[in-house]
Amino acid sequence: MSDSGYKSGSNLEKVLKAGHFAFTGECGPPKGANVGHLKEKMEPLRDMVDAINVTDNQTAVVRMSSKAASALMVMAGLEPNFQMVCRDRNRIAIQSDILGASALGIRNMLCLSGDHQQFGNHPESKNVFDIDSIQLIAVAKKMRDEGKFINDEAIDEPPKIFIGAASNPFGDPWQFRAHRLANKIDAGADFIQTQCIYNMERFREFMKQAVDMGLTGKTHILAGVTPMKSAGMANYMAKFVPGMDVPQELIKRLKGVDKKMQAEEGIKFALEQIEEFKQMEGVAGVHLMAIEWEHRVPEIAERAGVLPRPKVD
């Protein structure tokens, strides 16, 4: 821990430690070296969120590297949450990228296994999976707190990184989800961002279990929200996205309004969720994944009543 008492001193860490309800966003880097395109996606999030997740070749589709896009955000005065998957890097590249990210001023990192390359646009590729996401969390923590690589060699200047992990409260087998969350926290996850939540009933149960297990006192859990743009999108997610739980009632609710009004109905549902999360025991904030909808974030943040974002020194 640094002299300031912060692990990395990221804005997200400060906001969470000060006890504010955090609000994070997400941005997928472009399918090219187009910095202008990245700026178009990230600029609407300025002052609207505490940190912006930068996805790492999400769904195994090749895009600008998440480290480079994160560094571009730092240069533009925005705070990235650098996502790193285990699919494409062995422990040599992982540790090197953690050092590089820290050197570039990146202060948050989200540790993920990564979608299998079968989903993406290079299904012929070889994957790595040298270590898994829980080991990745432990490695980042060891590098930061002990100043050591996996092999116990000393690091001359440890990285300053606020360590995040993902949790899917709806993945199977359900008996194990809270335990898996506990494993991630034990490994060193400072914060958790959940998979998009649609089934509020199941999420309430999951949070209750997390609170009962004493997990919420050891980490900061941000509830994942992705507004549905249409009933079609809801249907698609229910059917084709593994590990996603979209209740039929929600699909019905979206279908119940005129096609032109479905996006608004999706936002309304998201706003109701955020309102509930603000009150829910153990929930420290919301992670808003407005996929290809970055320009709508200011409006959603405004209507969710999370503005202005707190400034903590």
Partner: protein, 222 residues
């Protein structure tokens, strides 16, 4: 055992298109058990190749041979007197066979007729599944005798990932999520706590990542 699939006929025909006389060598080991390179399969492939060639108005001579094993120099030697009487030799053994042949008879040309896939077994008649990736350091006792290294699509030592749904892996509804099975077995045995333990990154030196491997049994080395 080692499980393999027969290469498509046209791929094999393309390999031998310039030859008139070939030898087709089967193996009585794993490939016989998984019905891909035993006596029956040698006979079937030999006639398919002959018939195919006849359609082109040419004749193909195929000498059919069976070896006890193709992963043992002792049996490979049995071809010494005949290997160069043909234009090329096709092996129906796993990837080991054509290599042992090639190393023993450097002047001849050898071709594989099967795609060697994995270490596994028959889960029902006609269906074989992978069980082991030969990582060189077996850890399945931590997972109740089930191997996440070979059977989880991401080789996770801490699973399941968020993509596990209804017992299936995120990569396909046809693929079992072995982590789902591991967790359920732990739940049934009341030992879910076992999965709360942290497992250090694996040492992959004993797997292929440490380079080609060798196994030495000192007491047997003369």
């Amino acid at each position: 055992m080692i499980v393999a699939d027969r290469k498509p006929l046209d791929e094999i025909q393309e390999m031998i298109k310039d030859y008139d006389k070939i030898m087709l060598v089967g193996c009585k080991g794993c490939v016989t058990v998984c019905n891909v390179g035993g006596l029956k399969e040698v006979q079937i492939l030999a006639s398919a190749l002959r018939i195919g060639r006849k359609k082109d108005g040419r004749t193909l001579h195929v000498e059919e041979r069976m070896l006890e094993r193709q992963c043992d120099p002792e049996y490979i030697e049995q071809l010494r007197d005949s290997y160069d009487s043909v234009d090329a030799v096709l092996s129906m053994a796993c990837g080991v066979g054509p290599q042992f042949l090639s190393e023993t008879y450097p002047s001849q040309r050898f071709y594989p007729t099967v795609n060697t896939k994995f270490f596994g077994g028959a889960v029902q008649h006609g269906i074989w599944d992978e069980r082991c990736a030969g990582c060189g350091t077996c850890v399945i006792h931590y997972f109740d005798g089930l191997c996440p290294i070979a059977r989880c699509s991401k080789s996770l030592q801490h699973g399941p990932c968020g993509g596990s749904a209804d017992g299936k892996c995120e990569i396909s509804k046809e693929t079992e999520c072995i982590w789902d099975t591991i967790v359920k077995k732990k739940v049934d045995q009341g030992r879910l706590e076992d999965l709360r333990l942290y497992r250090a990154p694996k040492d992959w030196r004993t797997a292929r990542d440490g380079g080609p491997r060798r196994s030495i049994r000192e007491e047997l080395v003369k």
